[in-house]
Amino acid sequence: MVSLEEFSEIIRRLSSEEKKKLVEDLLDILLSSVNLENVPDEVGWRITEAYREGKMHDLQIFRELAYAISIAEPSKFTKILKELRRE
């Protein structure tokens, strides 16, 4: 089961470089997904606006990204979470 709380905890511990890399990876997974009809539009728009405003490293946006990916690509999200736990 995917836990957004656990994900947030892990993000807090990452360095800014690690966060930057993670945002890129998450965004790539999200934008490459063929299941975006399942993501609530308002979540998608909040991510889009955050990118335009340069706020992708805010914890709240990490949570939005994680939530969107957990819906669109649950197995990929679980894999990322496992990798983050290991690090």
């Binding site: 890129e24 790539d28 934008l31 490459s32 998608g44 728009w45 889009t48 990118y51 335009r52």
Partner: protein
């Protein structure tokens, strides 16, 4: 000078299209073509959003077809878009693919005449606000804020020649240099017929791409796009590719049903690679150089781009940036 633009397919939610357009603008491409397909979101509606949300990119709508949208309405919609962003709108008109049109109950008859008539109507409305010809007598009660160059989406020899003869540009949807060279010569025949020169005409190579270091994944991502291209190919091309009717009909049925899992199992990688440029970033660079060598001065980087879209876009834009510097 060479220009590069990218295709966005409005099959995804508008927030994703908006973000992709923003990224494409950030990465320095000139414009975005929004492909039109009855199964997807309306390219005109999507264009009206993007024209407000980006400030530098031009937005091309197309290829729209005059069977599903009346040519006068195409002109009205295009003129309305010019009010949102004057001089940042392009329109492409084509005959559409027979399989899709049939699936929504539309007969695709006399494609050359239909496209010629549509281009004439759209051009007259955009330039003069009024058109009177045969059975059309229409006008706009508002001024288009600018002209919008009219491209023709073409694959067969006669449509390519027509594009050279009456279009402001052409979108040639082939992905290998051999076919693109042949197509360029066909367009040139039309250009010569119109007593114009290629310098005043925008010949755009519309490459369908799937770029990644993992070729297997790139091919899988490309499969549905390859199937659409295959279904729309002129008969002569199908014969040259040695594709039999039974197989083609099976692909058409699979596309109609959007049964992509079945498509992956029946469409061989060799066929996918003939329809779509599948390869690593270095392969793309080689092909782009060949396409420029042929004479194309506008290259459309067509969807799907790759299995990891952000990675592919970045790699593609690195290459296009270098080529732009080389050909200033």
């Amino acid at each position: 000078m060479i220009i590069f633009s990218s295709e966005i397919v409005p099959k995804d939610p508008l927030w994703k299209i908006d973000l992709l357009a923003y990224l494409i603008e950030e990465m320095g491409l000139s414009g975005v073509w929004l492909s039109e397909h009855p199964h997807n979101r309306s390219s005109f509606i999507t264009a009206s959003l993007l024209l407000k949300r980006v400030s530098q990119l031009w937005i091309g709508v197309g290829v729209v077809n005059p069977y599903t949208i009346n040519p006068f309405v195409i002109a009205q919609l295009t003129a309305s878009l010019t009010e949102i962003a004057p001089n940042r709108v392009k329109i492409a008109i084509g005959a559409g693919d027979k399989t899709t049109l049939e699936s929504i109950g539309v007969e695709r008859s006399n494609p050359l005449e239909k496209v010629r008539e549509a281009v004439t109507i759209v051009r007259r409305i955009l330039r003069e606000r009024r058109v009177t010809m045969d059975n059309v007598d229409g006008r706009l009660d508002f001024n288009p804020r600018s002209y919008a160059p009219i491209y023709i989406g073409a694959q067969g020899p006669r449509m390519l020649q027509l594009a050279g003869e009456i279009g402001d540009g052409v979108l040639v949807n082939y992905s290998n240099p051999e076919d693109l060279k042949w197509a360029y010569m066909q367009v040139k025949i039309g250009i010569d017929r119109s007593s114009r020169t290629m310098e005043n005409f925008d010949a755009a190579a519309y490459l369908t791409l799937s770029i990644d270091n993992d070729i297997e994944k790139a091919a899988k991502t490309a499969a549905p796009y390859a199937a659409y291209v295959l279904c729309g190919l002129p008969e002569k091309m199908i014969e040259d590719l040695d594709i039999d009717d039974k197989f083609l009909n099976e692909v058409k049925e699979t596309v109609k049903k959007a049964d992509w899992l079945k498509l992956y199992s029946i469409l061989p990688v060799e066929i996918i690679k003939k329809m779509v440029l599948v390869g690593r970033p270095s392969d793309l660079r080689e092909v782009l150089e060949e396409v420029v060598e042929i004479g194309y001065r506008h290259i459309v980087l067509g969807a799907p781009l790759g299995p990891r879209i952000l990675y592919s876009l970045k790699e593609i834009c690195k290459i296009t940036g270098e080529l732009i510097k080389l050909h200033v």
